[in-house]
Amino acid sequence: MSIDFLPDKPIYQQLIDRILGDIMRGTLKAGEKLPSVREYAVEVGVNANTMQRVYKELEQMEITETRRGQGSFVTENQEKIMALRNEMKEQLVTTFLQSVAAFGFTTDEIVKCLQERGGEND
C-alpha cells in the first residue's frame, strides 16, 4: 500500500527495478547492507514472499550477495555495477529508438534535439 505499482508488470519486477535504480544512482552503495526481507516488505507494503523472490533474483543476477547470518549486501564488484549500468543504458536507448522510428523521426533530428536539451541541463 505504501508505493504505487504499475498495473501491467509483476510487482516483484517493479521492486527489482527499484532496487537496481537505487544501486545505479548510488542511493544504495557498493557493499551496503540491504534491509531484511521482512523489514523491506513492511516498508513498501508487499507480501514477504514477493520480497523473498526479489532478493533471490537480485542474488542470481550477482548484484547482491547473501552472507550467512548477516543478510544481503550490494556487491562490492564495481565492474558488475558498471555492466548493469551499461546494459540498462542500452535497453533504454533501444526502446527509445524504436519509438523514434515508429513516429517517423530521423536519428539526426533526435540527436540534435538531445544535444540542445543536454546543453540546457548542464
Binding site: 508488470k9 510487482i11 514477493t50
Partner: protein, 239 residues
Amino acid sequence: MIELKQIVKKYGSKRALQDVTVSIPRGKVIGLVGENGSGKSTLLKMMAGLLTPNSGSTTFDGQPITRRIASRVAYMSDTDDFYTYFTVQQLIDFYESQFEDFDMVKAKEIVQFLNVSLTSRIKSLSKGNRGRVKIAVTLAREADYYLLDEPFSGLDPMVRDDIAKGLIRFTDPERQSVIMSTHEIREVEPLLDEIIVMRGGRLIAHEAVDEIRDFYGIDATSWMVSLFKERQVERELGK
C-alpha cells in the same frame, strides 16, 4: 493444507456454496474476492470449522475439519463482537486464556506496533482502533492459518495501511497462510500471492497474482472485471 472438496452449503433453500473445490497450502497469502453474497464469508467459516457442509468434505492435513480446528486456525469475523467493557489488556488476557497458541509477547509487540493503548476500554475506542485491536489479538496467535473476514472494510486509509503492515510484519509466509476476504483488491494486491474469485456461490477462478500480470499484462482488478464480463457474455449467449 486445508482442502475443500465439492462443497455444497445451503441456508434453507438458498445455496450459499455450490460445488466448491479448493486447496490452500501453507505459506501463501490469498485474497478472496467477489460481490456481496457470493459466498466468501461462508467459505471462510467452512475452513474455520464454524459451519458444516451439506455435502462434500473439508480436511486439514488430511483430518476432517471440526470445531476443534479452532486450535490451529485463527478466524477473525467481520463483526465487532468483543465485550465492550474490557480494556485492551483484559481482552488480551481473555484471548490468552482461550487459545493455547496465544503469544503474550507477540500481542504486546503488535499492540505497540499499531499504537493502541493497553488501558483503553474497547467501548471508548474509535472504529479504526477497534479494527487495530481485532487484528492484533488475531495475529498474536501462532496459528497455521489466519482466516480474516473483511479485515479492511469500513476503515480509513491510515488504519488499512497499519493493518496491512501488521499482517506482513507478524505472519511468517514460510509456515503460515493468510486467507482474507476483501473488496479492496487494488489496494490489497501487493500483499497477495494468489486470488480466489467467487460468484454466486461458485469458485470461478484461482490464480497467482504474478501470473495474472505476467500472462495477461494487467493487474488483478482489471483481470477480475474482464472475468466477470466474460461470464456475462457467456450467459447472454446461453452457454
